[in-house]
Amino acid sequence: MGISSHTELVALNDILSSKNALLVMFSTQDPATGALQYSGPPINARGSDTYISWSLIGAHNVWLYTGDLEFVQTVWTNYTKALAFLEAQVDETGLMNVPESFSNDWGRDGGQGHNIAANVLLYRVSNCETSRLACDNFLTVSDCSVRACKPCGR
């Protein structure tokens, strides 16, 4: 999702396959915890905080490139529950403390604990882009996107 959703758009001027893939990932969400799976069917692996973040970033990318609010509305409850699953892992240090059982990633060693990559990805999910997405239904509040993104700066 971090590479392919962008390259898909550039190469094909289309992002339908990302959207379809994400709809599948949200459909297999754990209803008890809110966790998304690590891979789609038929493997259906579990146990990666970073891949959950990538799925949420991918959903943002689909919205960003298409403005497809119907898609966002379809998955919004799933999205917020998955994000809540991740944010529940933030401890007193202010960082997400990745449990061993959710430390799978692209194959790297040492994904557990206060891992930098996992925390950077959680920031990407919870930063102003998601706030913007949440704001999108009340654009009549003219300062919404400005206020939501101001602290993020750049």
């Binding site: 590479i3 206060h114 925390n119 939501a148």
Partner: protein
């Protein structure tokens, strides 16, 4: 959707998280982010994405991380210290686009 409170909440969370990442994981001596607070490893993925996703707080930090990552460069690609110095195109992609 369209929930003002949730939007403000996520923004607050993000501000606190960015601060915590810089407070706990920035290694000023190395000019890079540590893999975790008890690690001496400075990973390619976390450092590349820290610039790409705006975790860094200054141009100086961007320059330091960017320079730090060059220590892993070889003639055929950058090594990822977080996986036994293997060349990982997926991670290299983030270093290229930041």
């Amino acid at each position: 959707m369209g929930d003002k409170d949730i939007s403000a909440l996520y923004t607050t969370d993000a501000v606190l998280l960015k601060k915590a990442i810089n407070d706990v994981l920035w290694d000023d001596e190395a000019g890079m982010y540590r893999d975790n607070e008890s690690s001496s490893l400075h990973p390619q993925d976390g450092n590349s994405m820290a610039i790409l996703f705006n975790i860094t707080q200054s141009q100086e930090q961007n320059k330091a991380v960017s320079k730090g990552l060059t220590q892993f460069w070889t003639d055929i690609g950058p090594l990822s210290p977080e996986l036994n110095d293997t060349i990982i195109p997926f991670v290299g992609g983030f270093e290229v686009i930041y």
